[in-house]
Symmetry: C2
Subunit: 373 residues, 2 copies
């Protein structure tokens, strides 16, 4: 039933933009709206008094569309999915209808093909983020799925953290994490697992390499699983050997910033305020120049969703569409400040939180005190 409710909301959003139809090509949006999980397809929505939807894909998914698609006709395209999706809209809508396409996902080449393929009576209009804005607010069943993904990842972190030791390679830690995730039923990882040790911990996106963990220094682990179609995302940083005063100070500054970020989360708060609160703490410790990314992002079917929690744009709001104005109850976002000192090392601490009317619920159950191994 969730899918039909989402379809109704999408159609309502189309109406507000005075659009009569939509060509959905972004696969996570297709999945969200009608349940189809295949790797290729186009969903056409014809709004109006009696809205109709049709999903077009190819012969590989003949069985799958029967099992998965809800609230839309499933069609195996004889020519191309895009061509038949456009032709179907031409037949389903009156002449002069305005049909949106996803301009933040559709390539220029596909847009041109769509123009050639669309019946003369349709006017194509760029639309950005229509389905993504619906996806920002998670339904209770989605939150349940996300909780399961978060808990799975946390339990695996607990299981492997004790195995980290000098000489163990980053890649073997990543392999262990990924293997357990799979064995525990995850469909896959949300993104390339990051295991960055020693000086490499200063690389924000330090994919696991054959580097062995040194006897001394930080190890940053950032990973997530996909479970039931929803992503998780967590980062913890441990220290090998006794940390220096400097390392301790960096860690506690990041933790303080992370807690400040969490404490600022609440429905109605400006998204940039969360970034501001976390960043302020790191600046207070004289480390502002080493916090080189934004404080967080939405998570759901995709690992990076809106809203972004980042600095308020200097000029106009329009320059920064990922920074949805204000947090709303039901959003799920990461809070993940970090400090990265080139040639020394880095620390990042990341939880996922559910925004509520009165604050937030931290979904990630893993403790955040510095673990020394």
């Amino acid at each position: 039933m969730a899918h039909k409710g989402r379809q109704a909301k999408a159609i309502e959003a189309l109406g507000k933009l005075r659009l009569h139809g939509l060509v959905v090509t972004h696969l996570p949006n297709i999945r969200y709206l009608c349940g189809f999980t295949g790797s290729s397809g186009v969903l056409s929505i014809a709004a109006g008094a009696r809205p109709r939807l049709a999903l077009f894909t190819d012969g590989r998914y003949a069985t799958q569309i029967k099992e998965e698609v809800v609230g839309a006709r499933g069609v195996i395209a004889k020519t191309s999915a895009l061509a038949e999706a456009a032709a179907w809209l031409g037949k389903s809508l009156p002449k002069g209808s305005r049909v949106g396409f996803e301009s933040d996902h559709m390539t220029v080449a596909i847009r041109e093909a769509l123009g050639r393929l669309s019946p003369a009576g349709l006017a194509l209009k760029p639309v950005a983020g229509l389905v993504e804005r619906l996806r920002m607010i998670k339904e209770p069943a989605e939150v349940t799925q996300i909780r399961s993904a978060v808990n799975l990842a946390s339990s695996i972190y607990d299981a492997i953290v004790g195995d980290i030791a000098p000489g163990v390679t980053e890649i073997s830690i990543a392999a262990e994490i990924e293997y357990l995730c799979r064995r525990m039923g995850a469909e896959g990882m949300s993104f390339e697992t990051i295991v960055a040790s020693g000086k490499r911990s200063a690389l924000v996106h330090g994919r696991a390499t054959a580097t062995p963990v040194a006897a001394n220094g930080f190890v940053v682990m950032d990973f997530g699983v996909i479970l039931g179609g929803y992503c998780s995302d967590m980062t913890r940083t441990v220290h090998m050997g006794r940390p220096t005063r400097k390392s301790e100070r960096i860690y506690s500054a990041v933790l303080e910033a992370q807690l400040a970020g969490i404490n600022s989360v609440k429905a109605g708060v400006d998204t940039s305020k969360v970034d501001y609160e976390a960043r302020k703490v790191i600046q207070k410790h004289g480390l502002g120049g080493y916090f080189t990314h934004s404080t967080g992002h939405g998570v759901g079917i995709e690992i990076h969703e809106i809203p972004g929690l980042r600095k308020a744009p200097k000029r106009t709001r329009k320059a920064n569409p990922g920074a949805a104005d204000r947090l709303k109850a039901g959003m799920v976002v990461t809070i993940e400040p970090g400090v990265y000192i080139p040639g020394f090392g880095g620390v990042r601490i990341e939880d996922m939180v559910l925004v509520t009317e009165t604050g937030c619920e931290v979904l990630t159950p893993t403790p955040k005190e510095l673990i020394v191994l």
Copy 2:
């Protein structure tokens, strides 16, 4: 040095299109041209008498650009990579210069932003497949990397095939494959591992699920690794329990088709000819309606590259740009016919081959006789 040679070829290709510059936004193309492996960046190429290149990315990659980027200036963008890439081209090129952008990768929204950000004197022109056409022909060092990836995957197939038994879940087979790939040094999998057993083997894209392998029926395994930045891709199908005559006939038809496809590969041969030769065999066995995809595709930095080996387009060549006209020596392609009978099961057999002047070299060393477990 390879990167500088590639840059020279890209600049030569720009010249043939009467373009003075190029904005490269597709990450595999950026990696190919200058070595940068980060997850975000824009490469600007200013052609002309003294060509220059500059890669724009963000603060997360400050260390990485120093280590990786060859033949291009590495710049940490203060505003946005796209804005600075456009501004740099404006400064580097004379007024009235024609600058290409990758229309088959750039979204409509980014194209519009690029238009706003580009200095008035530049004329933006859509270009499709310019770098991809260079990437089609693999350099010897690339073939070596691909061989390593192929051999790694094959050795892992050998290691796990004996563990497949009734009751073992598809996902645990996939987990085993992926774990060993990681432990053997792979950066990751080329795509979501397919393990499809019993009736699920009729799903062309049957991602591994919690389904236990039955005592009888086919199990299709399709997976690949990324090693040193290059992908591999292989499929083998085994049979649980004694196969029926029907199953044996299906398997041998697919194998015959796969060998016919391989035998037709040679520099100068039309890409659709390979599809035709494989498909003809399956049709001869009365199974033509069950071979629902194309025969193969290029493989390299990406898992799906041009050329596509598919049916000749009915009308014009232009309708099917992925079907590069003719095979050339140095291309690496998959040959992977299959037969999928809904409610019964399916078979696919896939190797990677290197196109040569006299035929091809099969890179995948794994035998193809039907294994009965």
